[in-house]
Amino acid sequence: MTNSIAEVVNSDVVFITGSNTTAGHPVIGARIRQAKQKGAKIIVAEPRVIDLSSDADVFLQIMPGTNVALYNAMMNVIISEGLQNSAYIEERTEKYDDLVAAVSSFTPEKAAEICGVSADDIRAAARLYAKAAKASIFYSMGVTQHTTGTEGVMSLSNLTLLCGNIGIESGGINPLRGQNNVQGACDMGGLPGDLTGYQKVANPDALAKFEKAWGVKLSDKPGVTLTEIVHKAGHGDIKFLYIMGENPMVSDPDLNHVEEALKNTEFLVVQDIFLTETARLADVVLPAASFAEKEGTFSNTERRVQRVRKAIEPIGNAKADWVILMDILNRLGIEKQYSHPSEIMAEIASLTPSYGGITYERLDQLGSLQWPCPTTDHPGTTYLHKAAIARGKGLFKGIEYKPSNELPDQEYPFLLTTGRVLYHYHTRTMTGKVDGLNALSPESFIEINPTTAKELGVNDGAKVRVSSRRGEIATVAKLTRTIKQGVVFMPFHFSEGAANMLTNPALDPISKIPEYKVCAVRIEPFDRVSDYV
């Protein structure tokens, strides 16, 4: 997030797109509603009617995968009505002409047809956003999990620059990260091309610094990404795979392929708190401690580093992940010992400029610190780009709308989009163990518009078979008017009736994120006796 969560209550306009905030990030959802109570106007652009739709001054129920068309049309309106922030554009941005060229022919009428909403609503949203003194944007996987996800983000960033909303309090462009420490995993170098703090492995100075600190020679060749790792493991090119605290057997696209790949991996180590679907395929399973059993820090979606504190001893013979990793490092000849995670943080701070001023002492004293925090007397950064855009000037990029990789056709006539429910988290490794949460959300389902369901001959609560080019699953029909005809929705949490048996593994070429939000499926009622045996 460029800005902080608490700032949203003072926004004049909040634009929510590609995020079912009250389900995915409930407390931020509550704070957006607090903003509404204080007088903020709300714009929501989502494929489904979500909770926040009822709070919205403008609600755009767009077809999944048409985000860029919508944003381009909003910018078309803003520019043609002269609502852009010209002084800001002049002073703090460049390549404005590229944007004008890309959106000038993208009228609201054109987008209305693609997105399945009214042109007037697009105009209303554009005017509302552009006229606000402080407008913030919140988005999540509904923007990123497309083959054009990166372009969706760039297009949103164009919109914020166009109206001067970057570098001000209560404005900004705010991605909501799904898991508690996604931000931290990225910050800490859990990326094939990046060391900590996004220092590139291909940068000889950065690499030399780490080589010196760690006392080993390091490779300057960027590694391969998750999807490629799984692919290569399946083909025997990767022979040893170590998975810590993840369950790709439910979360990855095209699960049939993942299962095969993991089974083919010569040696698989899985470290987790439960025997997950993935752990069952491992050659060695290591029992890890839960967050309640260890010390450490998480970095939340607003770059805020906060403490994790140990409340109980590890269960049975389980060990904290940091202890396990240190033991293995030591056995691999990297001798450094840590008696407490605060010593690991000290090493991180010494190698990572943006974390340079973060110490356990300060965290315990202040409660939290937001990076960039370069020195121990730096107060941390609540919102980014205050003085100037980080890279110098804000760069506009002309983005063309491109349709999703796989669209409905005769054989697979429905568009499937996936997401989360409030009562579960990710692959249910944890929430699936909580009775009350299971009672509120017991099983996989598919949301279908009643009119569509009628054509299919499917009743509410009926079992249906859903298939795509990748696979086939059984799930339960949930009829609801919150979804458009022709579009269907499934949560991805469940391993029985897993949505990711169906999803399309086509990747965004830049971010390598799979297109979870759009694929084509066929739906059939379970009617033959043979279906039940």
């Binding site: 409930p26 998750l226 040893f240 309640a292 998480f298 990710h426 944890m430």
Partner: protein, 352 residues
């Protein structure tokens, strides 16, 4: 800044402060029941219990400290006989319609009413009369609503409408039978309630009480402040621990959550001590995962790493780190892959 005198002490506080904040600044504790300290811009909105009343020179009526703005030159007394008499009367009125079953009540030890009655030596109420007789609502998966224990402080309504903004609750009826409830006195499970438990966390009594697997007394648990392990909001919370088990969770006023939690953060903790937790390393032997020692597991892993690296080079190894573990652990993981395996093949599932 505004200057005033409280119990003879001179205090100086910012202009828009309330008496209660001025008293806190002077180190004088004024008892409260309905006041919600969190949420600065809503302070004083509740003011329903009058337990915080104080005497202000020149005013005829006692003033609720939690809802009275400070004024220059104010002279305030917080412990006169009149003030104490009024507080006692408020408490006796509340107690007159409250089941006195503290022996078995789950809230004992952190109950606003119990604590105040203790402080003011109130054993029983001099006001006897009819008692409320509401049916107990157990329909929610995570908490019980027993309005017979409600002291009508409005905190739950405020939490639900002004902070959580779900609007599942409001007051119904007038006078003696007034009580907070979902519309039409339906079971809460049939309302728009999203089970966030924020009303439960702020209720001073056992009118709203979490359903817990393990029974505990509030003085039996230790508290550890930490960060929620579910989504990226990073809410701050306290883990309540009894006999080495996490038995409950309460919100903490962190920068991101301002005292709120959602259903997962508040009630989703039973996975921690779940019997299915992995408790020992496992190694696959003849196709089956069997229990092993740490040393066996480490030896096997390190042996494989070394051999694979020697035979096929570092790029034949890879690791997937986790968006669920700590920063320090992510750091060590990529260090292990880069420095130990000799490859940059490290990624995580954040894209999902």
């Amino acid at each position: 800044m505004v200057k005033l005198t409280i119990d003879g002490k001179a205090v100086e506080v910012p202009k828009n402060s309330y008496l209660i904040e001025a008293a806190n600044a002077a180190g004088i504790k004024i008892p409260t029941l309905c006041y919600l300290e969190l949420h600065k811009d809503k302070r004083g909105d509740n003011a329903s219990c009058r337990v915080c009343c104080v005497e202000v020179e020149g005013r005829k009526n006692l003033a609720p400290a939690c809802a009275t703005p400070v004024m220059e030159g104010m002279v305030v007394k917080t412990d006169t006989a009149r003030v104490i008499g009024a507080r006692k009367m408020m408490l006796e009125l509340l107690l007159s319609d409250h089941p006195q079953d503290c022996l078995t009540c789950g809230q004992a030890g952190k109950c606003g009413l119990q604590d105040l009655c203790y402080q003011y030596d109130i054993k029983e109420s001099n006001y006897r009369g009819i008692m409320s007789d509401f049916p107990v609502d157990e329909s929610n998966e995570f908490y019980v609503r027993d309005m017979n224990k409600c002291v009508n402080c409005r905190r739950c309504v405020m939490a639900c409408s002004s902070f959580q903004c779900t609007h599942a609750l409001d007051f119904a009826s007038r006078g003696f039978t007034a009580h907070p409830t979902p519309p039409f006195d339906d079971p809460v499970s049939e309302s728009v309630c999203v089970s966030c438990g924020n009303c439960v966390s702020v209720c001073p009594t056992a009118a709203l009480l979490p359903k817990t697997k393990v029974k505990y007394r509030n003085w039996e648990v230790s508290r550890t402040t930490t960060t929620c392990s579910y989504c990226g909001v990073g809410c701050q919370l306290d883990l309540l621990v009894k006999d080495g088990k996490v038995v409950g969770i309460e919100p903490v006023d962190g920068a991101a959550n301002n005292g709120l939690l959602c259903v997962k953060g508040k009630f989703g903790y039973n996975f921690i001590n779940h019997p299915d937790r992995l408790t020992t390393p496992l190694i696959r032997k003849d196709g089956k995962l069997v229990e092993a020692t740490w040393d066996e597991a480490y030896t096997l892993i390190v042996d494989k790493i070394t051999k694979t690296k020697a035979e096929f080079g570092g790029d034949a190894l890879a690791g997937l780190t986790s968006a669920r573990v700590t920063n320090e652990e992510n750091y060590l993981f990529q260090k292990m892959v880069r420095a130990g395996f000799g490859t940059n093949n490290v990624d995580h599932c954040a894209r999902l």
